[in-house]
Amino acid sequence: MKGSQAIIKSLTDEGVDVVFGYPGGVLLPLYDVIYDSDLKHILVRHEQCAAHAADGYARASGKVGVCIGTSGPGATNLVTGIATAYMDSAPIVALAGQVGTSMIGNDAFQEVDTIGITMPISKHNYQAMDSSEIPQMIRSSFYIARTGRPGPVVVDLPKDVQKGELDYPENITIDLPGYKPTKKGHPLQVKKASELILKSKKPVILAGGGIIHSESSEELQHLSELIGAPVTTTLMGKGCFPEDHPLALGMLGMHGRVASNMIVDECDCLIAVGCRFSDRTTGDVTKFAPNAKVIHIDVDPAEIGKNVAVDLPIVGDAKIILSHLVRVISQTKDQGKPDWVDYVKSFRASCLPRLSFDDVPLKPQQVIKEISEAVTDDTILTTDVGQNQMWMAHYFTSRNPRKFISSGGLGTMGFGFPSAMGAKVAMPDNDAVAVCGDGGFLMVCQDLATVKEYDIPVVVCVLDNRYLGMVAQWQKLFYDERISHTKLKAMPDFVKLAESFGINGYRVERPGEMKETLQEALKSGEPSLIDVMIDPDEILPMVPPGCGITEIVGEYKVERENPNEIPYRRSAQETGGD
């Protein structure tokens, strides 16, 4: 068979049912096979969206997402999406066209060094130099993408390699002597960890995206309840532990919940699972969890000790290690810490954020509250990047893994909408709602054509503040309110924009309308856009960069009568920025 046919056969054998792509000159052989193959191809309107859609597909389903772009500009347009997947450990395989092998290196038309460019932003990459390499390369790519710490793999496919003949082997063996991810945690380390936990008086669990990748939410909940440890999450971990559980603290970090930041500050044993202690999570690391012994469980040994000094590392799969820990600890007596649990519960209750506001223009808190009321536990929510993302992360209550999808590590504006598209394609029975900023959505709005063409009923909620709100917030807090190029002066009418693509557009301006409109849009079963006019002056309380996570600035509005009683409320002036 031909190389291009081998590519499609390999994808089908991996269980791929859909790819997101955009053709080009060097991909003609491949697209000619796609023409009459059973593989569903979704033609995006920008390759960045193909990569984000594959990413959203992967995060929502746990399966490997696939995107395709042509050589040169097609590949460079994929780059942002590949880097986004890399930073958040999402398993995708990106197929890139390449000029013919005889032309490589000649600066041929639409030639770019895709391997060189993607080397630092992919888990691995391959360039096929002969058609016969294709089956094993694609098999290995999927294996690498989904095992260990997942991540993107790029396969560079020169045109003549797609056209060449090969004998498709009956058996493909994966031969990767340098790739052997550890699964089982070292039993001695697990035992030591259990001893540390039992000895501690104030344990806290910090759960990251690794819980979601390893599907260990249940084990996490067992451990938390068994030892009486409240659970805080990173942005990537959001949803891995039900956030309305009495032991849930919500997200930690720069834009975290007060309860999380304060309790982590106070804990004497921090059990970090599947997280990488990013600076957005820890704040100033020298002030992070100052009284705690740190246990770090991660599948990637390089994450251990990278940012935060660790007292007890366990390398391996979180699911296996957590159930092992639960088994060991269950055999002991007095695992629970009722005093600590009581304290945590009452502290948590004292600083729950206030959500209800009847102001016009709408407060984002109220908007998110209404979104929560309109969706179910099965709805997949994606966010863009900026205030919209942090408001969602902070105020939205997630209850299930793979239902909150956001670009954490790279912070890619434009991620929200295409990732929701990919998520909806992966999980057609679940609703998919993208909560975006007006700036970020405008970066990818051309793909409204894609959701229209393929009838992918996602609902895009644009939190419309006519600002690059997050950057403007920093300018307000730390740069003397010098609003430099963050006001979006000319913007489209988003309702008309949607309508010009043949998509239902709605506008929401007053309390109560968000819930009603979102429910209506979801019920319609059609792709829709809701333009939500929010208060451009609302900011999210935050920890200034370089400060400890307890040093929150901006007014933290809490759900109680006397907000003055809340400790650690500081004004912007007290703490300088940058």
Partner: protein, 182 residues
């Protein structure tokens, strides 16, 4: 009940310069195009120091051995090793301890040498350092020397006075003493 909250800053880990030392990292890698780029790229991207890197075929077909000399404290070295191990085409990584390791470098030195006297002196130095003259011209001599980097440095220092025209060094390669292998 109420737990007191005290913010005790975690001890800052300041690395003193004298805690940074030279490390000899030996890595067994797939002998494929691009591996060197992956390794070198990792060092620049993560801000690891790299003094030298040598690579050549190993005892096993399809595998190459790389020797990397890098400066850093223990924490940096741990990161280097772990990050190297993450590269799919890197099979094994070892930090060789200086005592238990044989380290050798090859160096070619082309010096200016016109007078009889300087020529004979240079030849004598070459002999003392167990080097060889590998090329002779009317105005120059080229020496070959192998040894530890320090020994090579010493010879180069001695030859400076004669006018060194060109130096080509391979960078050190290393192997552990005794029967153990990596």
């Amino acid at each position: 009940m109420k737990y007191p909250t005290g913010v005790l800053p975690r001890k800052l880990e300041v690395t003193k310069m004298d805690q940074r030392r030279n490390h000899i990292i030996s890595a067994l890698v797939m002998h494929r195009p691009g591996v060197l780029q992956r390794v070198a790229g990792l060092f620049t991207r993560r801000g690891f120091n790299i003094d030298s890197i040598t690579v050549g075929p190993s005892e096993q077909d399809g595998l190459a051995r790389m020797t990397i000399i890098s400066k850093g404290d223990e924490k940096v070295l741990e990161q280097i090793t772990k990050q190297l191990n993450k590269i799919i085409e890197v099979i094994k990584v070892r930090d060789l301890d200086a005592e238990g390791t044989v380290t050798r470098e090859l160096c070619l030195i082309k010096t200016h040498a016109t007078s009889e006297r300087s020529r004979s002196e240079i030849i004598q130095y070459a002999n003392i350092f167990r080097g060889r003259i590998v090329d002779v011209g009317p105005e120059n001599l080229t020496l070959e020397i192998t040894g530890t980097p320090e020994k090579i440095d010493a010879l180069i220092d001695l030859l400076r006075g004669y006018g060194i025209k060109e130096i080509a060094r391979t960078g050190p390669t290393a192997i552990s003493r005794g029967s153990k292998t990596i």
